[in-house]
Amino acid sequence: MTTAPRGLQKCFHRLGYQFILGVDEAGRGPLAGPVVAAAVILLPGVYLAGVNDSKALSSVRREELFSVIVSKACAYGIGIVSPAEIDEINILQATFLAMVKAINHTNIFPDLVVVDGRQRLPFPLCQYPLVKGDSRCQVVAAASIIAKVIRDRIMRFYHLRYPLYGFDRHKGYGTAVHRQAVNLYGLSPVHRRSFRLKEHQKG
């Protein structure tokens, strides 16, 4: 069980940034469901054993760590952008919007925002974009877990409403089962209409 390193956070704390916020998103690729972003602030000295890139953890482990992070974090926030909005403003802008929403929903104003990926957010804050941030910085890793868990919960809820597609299993991602279901039953209201499949990708 590996834990994401804290080196960068320690450096930033040393340089005088107190409230360091990590922000990450989940659900950029799927054919259905919202894009969810989470923001987490961890204070200096907080060590969350086992917290790492959400993609490297099992869903059971993520749920365990979710409650640990929520209880140990100084503050956290969540931003959700619906499939309809994604269709309207494209997925990249939707991810940015979700991240900005997540930061706005965090109770404490951050000194520094560590963003997963290559780009800065359209937001007037001190930012540090970090490629592969979710495995290189603990606070981003924590955010990635929160985002993933929340999105999975939303998709399980959608499964109750639209049980034909198996959202509880693939969470909206384009698996063979999902693509076949789309072929058979058409799109549900929670599908992203702008995500059209090519002929050979259809189930």
Partner: protein
């Protein structure tokens, strides 16, 4: 002995010293636009950023005392650059190696692991 040559001499003494104490030297004189770090080494599963300070006497204070707050900030900045550009999965630590060159030319080395912390 000139200041620069004294510093260079001290850095190689420190590197040898750390190696005999089981550290693996990753990089010496790591340079980036934010500044420089004397030695980057690996101690078990910990990445060590090491500042070497050499003096020819303790007349004007101990060498380790010369690693003041602003210098520590500088090292933290360079370290953040290093961590941002490399994919490091280890925890990190800040060490200082203080060296006094005695009159006989032999180094008196004092190693301070985790001399200052980030938190």
């Amino acid at each position: 002995m000139q200041r620069q040559t004294l510093g260079k001499w001290g850095e190689s003494q420190a590197a040898d010293y750390l190696q005999t104490h089981g550290l693996r030297i990753i990089c010496r004189n790591y340079r980036c636009p934010l500044g420089e770090i004397d030695i980057i080494a690996q101690d078990g599963d910990c990445l060590v950023f090491c500042e070497v300070k050499t003096r020819s006497s303790n007349k004007y204070g101990l060498p380790q005392e010369a690693v003041v707050w602003t210098k520590q900030q500088k090292i933290a900045k360079v370290a953040s650059w290093y961590l941002g550009s490399q994919e490091v999965t280890m925890d990190i630590r800040f060490d200082v190696v203080a060296i006094i060159k005695s009159a006989t030319g032999k180094p008196e080395i004092e190693w301070l692991p985790a001399a200052f912390s980030f938190e």
